[in-house]
Symmetry: C2
Subunit: 219 residues, 2 copies
């Protein structure tokens, strides 16, 4: 089993590097968005696309076990989107992304958001070829989850602590949540945000614009 797992991951890694090269060659900033189901990935994407629309073109790859609902929600914002259904599969892989890139053809100098299957475990193991990994974690999920699901938080570059508008109604301490995330990964860039009130979004948009500029200028 371990030998097979290693072989699968090694084949995935080669395909991921190919995707990474293709994206870098076009100056496309690709982000792998990962979270539990219901942390608010799609809502955050809808708002980001609407808020940034004129400055920054965003296209989206949507991963779910079933339905095309999320791709439809994204298309309603005017952004191009491709849906991948994984069936019983619990994560996207580099091969699925390669196929989606062929269909989506993100324009040079734009941003590609890859919304992974809602799962705080498996997607952490599979590199897709993204430039950075963004974990969206809802403040309703509790302070200690980074310690209990360390692989995902260790694999991430950015942590969006979502649904902060609910904090007044929860028995959760935002600082303790940030501290547990930094305990497992001191290098995390953390943005507390609310896609409903807009709180914290300007910092996230700033990060996104900077990284998109870097990707565009490096191509």
């Amino acid at each position: 089993m371990i030998a097979l797992e290693t072989a699968v991951l090694s084949k995935n890694q080669a395909l991921a590097e190919r995707n990474r090269g293709w994206l870098a060659g076009r100056g496309v900033l690709a982000l792998n968005l990962m979270s539990s189901p219901g942390a608010g990935k799609t809502t955050l994407l809808e708002r980001s696309i609407r808020d940034l629309g004129r400055d920054l073109a965003i296209s989206v790859v949507e991963g779910d076990q079933a339905t095309t609902r999320d791709a439809e929600r994204i298309r309603a914002t005017g952004a191009p989107a491709i849906q991948i259904n994984t069936g019983t599969g619990c994560h996207l892989d580099a091969d699925m992304l390669a196929a989606a890139l062929v269909r989506l053809q993100p324009a040079p100098g734009t941003v590609l958001m890859i919304e992974n299957v809602g799962n705080l475990v498996c997607p952490a193991l599979f590199d897709l070829g993204e430039a950075a990994r963004v974990v969206i974690f809802s403040v309703t999920e509790g302070e200690d989850k980074p310690l209990k699901y360390p692989h995902m938080f260790r694999a991430a570059n950015v942590l969006l602590l979502s649904k902060t508008d609910l904090l007044p109604h929860l028995r959760v301490d935002l600082q303790r949540m940030i501290d547990s995330a930094l305990t497992v990964n001191p290098g995390l860039t953390i943005f507390p945000v609310s896609a409903y009130t807009g709180e914290g979004l300007s910092a996230w948009y700033g990060w996104l614009r900077d990284r998109a500029d870097v990707a565009r200028l490096a191509a």
Copy 2:
């Protein structure tokens, strides 16, 4: 890959049937509790153990990637608990449960709660030998998740819709959430509950007492 997956699942199934026999032979009601991370499994267990303490003895198997926090929280209620850490693994399997049963030795006629790794995808594929599968799904996770993660909801017997105390602060319709769950699995028994306010818990406790009686009398 498909052949290997089938072989792994078939070996797991045989071990699960052995566990099911062992549990039935002792009159122990075993429930497999599954959810996303942070849906409130442990909080609901703590409250259920405290509320039912005198009527119904409960012991617990806790599954997490890392830490022994949940087992410690359960032991603080006075109930016996065993922690299983899966490392990068995304679910419990029947072999892990068999090893935990040897250590935990649940008393005849009691209830065994198996808190699976927080994941709405993988645990649905692995029978542990439980008498019933209980999905805990927080109302903060959104109305459409049963449609997007159908395997878990199809595999379940009971659905606990948790954190109903947050409903006044969410843009979520409880009835639409119930309807999406029943669309993928019309046979689901559904209990909306709040472990904080206690709302809905008496119906869940009633179900639990009935099922525990049946398991005890059948042994």
